[in-house]
């Protein structure tokens, strides 16, 4: 299968690879997928007091399309509010990267990773509010 140029570009020069401190109260971490399925994504966001994602990092175990999907996801959500970021759909990623049908699950995983990171951030926030 031939890869689209955008997939190759992201896979060869992934944006925002790295790790944020998962214990930071402003950081939300999403870990989705399973090693046995051949892809695992970890996507992290750091949200400021205005509810804007000021930083996003990822690490991915997976094929080139999975790496590209998560790289693109971090690029897209940076600078967006949490609510806006939540609206990103896997089909947007499919379109941007020209993913073929067998690679659609990579984009689904990236959407799940964003949602999961946001959910983790909100859970932390609620826990803090309850503690006050």
């Amino acid at each position: 299968m031939a890869y689209s140029e955008k997939v190759i570009e992201h896979a060869e020069h992934p944006r925002n690879v790295g790790t944020l401190d998962k214990d930071d109260p402003n950081v939300g971490t999403g870990l989705v997928g399973a090693p046995a399925c051949g892809d695992v994504m970890r996507l992290q966001i750091r949200v400021n007091d205005q509810g804007v994602i000021e930083d996003a990092k990822f690490k991915t175990f997976g094929c080139g399309s999975a790496i590209a999907s998560s790289s693109l996801a971090t690029e897209w959500i940076k600078g967006k509010s949490v609510d806006e970021a939540e609206k990103i759909k896997n089909v947007d990623i499919v379109q941007e990267l020209n993913l073929p049908p067998v690679k659609i699950h990579c984009s689904v995983l990236a959407e799940d990773a964003i949602k999961s990171a946001i959910a983790d951030f909100r859970k932390k926030k609620e826990a803090r509010a309850a503690a006050k």
Binding site: Y3, I8, A11, P14, V17, T19, L31, V32, G33, A34, P35, A36, C37, G38, D39, V40, M41, R42, K59, T60, F61, G62, C63, G64, S65, A66, I67, V102, H105, V108, L109, D112
Partner: protein
């Protein structure tokens, strides 16, 4: 570094045509274009003579007693189909039981599935963790209705060589037809239909530096005589075993490829083992958490199948995209399942997804091996820096205890 990119290290999928083979083939496209079945003129005679010469060379390579035992086909898939379907159809009054193994090529497994629909009962023998069938399992699986055993000479993914000679002793004792898909091992490792008591053997030209689209089925003619029902109807070519005008240039090339293997196969295999070991050591000495899939001892000379833990195989192939290799990762197949061969060895799904098959061949050089070893070493490190699993592993988290969200 003076290597030319891309580098082909996928010689189990196919091999380039040796220039000596091509040179022998060329006249048979243009000047000597006759139909080998034309008995009435010199064009046909020249073609027939060339075909018979190739037949002799191929028979010699595999230890056949007569060139008449070579039936030309379009390739090993057709040979496998003809062997299994043809034997089943001929011997079905004697019984309906076939024994094969779980790591066979799809040309065998899917043919067996088809035969099951036609009333065959098939036993799929397991393999040990190196991918070998235990001859004792073959012995135990044989029953009164067993008519055919089909076990490959060497596996295409992991390079594991099966104990064919031992199995051949058993099948001969019990009077059961023994077929072997020998495509990966021919010319590279010991293979002799007499010594190994093989009755049917599938071979193909393009895995041994001959052209694609031409293969053969060895069909034993004496002690015992093995019979088949033809699966292709028509002009009754190949002694009625396979109708269809012969691919004369392809067959000429096949014959030349066989002749080269007879002359050079042994020395070439020694060189392949040295190259493979060089590649293996240069990677394993520098990259931790790599595992060899298959047998160390019983292995095709040019095969190296490695799993790079915490790195996904297709991601790896993309990272080394100037090097042609293959992977047992699910992502390379249309299904999302990782390689059934690796699973049969009990390699976990994680490691199966992380496997890369390097297939060394005649035209690979030491410089290429060094280049690939360096590239793989640096790319595995880069991909691990990007892998959440590697990070967790380094933090001391046992990945087996993590609750993964299956998808």
């Amino acid at each position: 570094m003076s290597v030319k990119l891309p580098i082909f290290m996928d010689n189990h999928s196919t091999t380039p045509v040796d220039p000596r083979v091509l040179a022998d083939m060329l006249p048979y496209f243009t000047e000597k274009f006759g139909n080998a079945a034309s008995r009435s003129h010199s064009f046909g005679w020249a073609a027939e003579e060339a075909v018979d010469y190739a037949r002799e060379r191929i028979a010699h390579l595999i230890g056949a007693q007569s060139e008449k035992e070579i039936v030309f086909t379009s390739g090993a898939t057709e040979s496998d189909n003809l062997a299994l379907k043809g034997a089943f159809e001929f011997y079905k009054d004697k019984g309906n039981h076939i024994i094969t193994c779980v790591t066979e090529h799809k040309a065998i497994l899917d043919t067996c599935k088809r035969l099951e629909k036609d009333g065959a009962e098939v036993t799929y023998l397991p393999v040990d963790k190196t991918g070998r069938v235990d001859p004792d399992d073959v012995r135990k699986a044989i029953g009164p209705k067993t008519i055919l055993v089909s076990i490959m000479l060497a596996n295409n993914e992991i390079g594991t060589v099966h104990p064919i000679e031992e199995i051949g002793k058993i099948t001969r004792e019990r009077g059961i037809v023994f077929h072997s898909d020998a495509v990966q091992g021919i010319g590279k490792i010991d293979f002799d239909v007499q010594k190994m008591n093989i009755d049917l053997a599938s071979i193909t030209a393009h895995k041994m530096y001959g052209p694609k689209g031409v293969g053969a089925l060895y069909v034993r003619r004496s002690k015992p005589r093995v019979r088949l029902i033809a699966q292709m109807d028509g002009g009754g070519h190949e002694r009625g075993n396979r109708s269809g005008t012969l691919n004369v240039p392809g067959i000429v090339g096949f014959g030349k490829a066989a002749a080269i293997m007879i002359e050079e196969g042994k020395a070439e295999s020694a060189r392949m083992v040295a190259l493979r070991e060089r590649l293996r050591q240069r990677i394993q000495d520098r990259v931790e958490e790599t595992y060899i899939n298959g047998s160390i001892e019983h292995r095709l000379p040019g095969n190296l199948n490695l799993s790079f833990n915490f790195v996904e195989g297709e991601g790896m192939m993309m990272a080394i995209k100037d090097v042609a290799v293959s992977s047992g990762s699910a992502c390379t197949s249309s299904s999302l399942e990782p390689s059934y061969v690796l699973r049969a060895l009990g390699v976990g799904d994680e490691l199966a997804h992380s496997s890369i098959r390097f297939g060394l061949g005649r035209f690979n050089t030491e410089e290429e091996v060094d280049y690939v070893a360096d590239l793989v070493t640096s790319k595995v490190k880069a991909l691990r820096d990007m892998s959440p699993l590697w990070e967790m592993h380094k933090e001391g988290i046992d990945l087996k205890t993590v609750q993964w969200s299956a998808h």
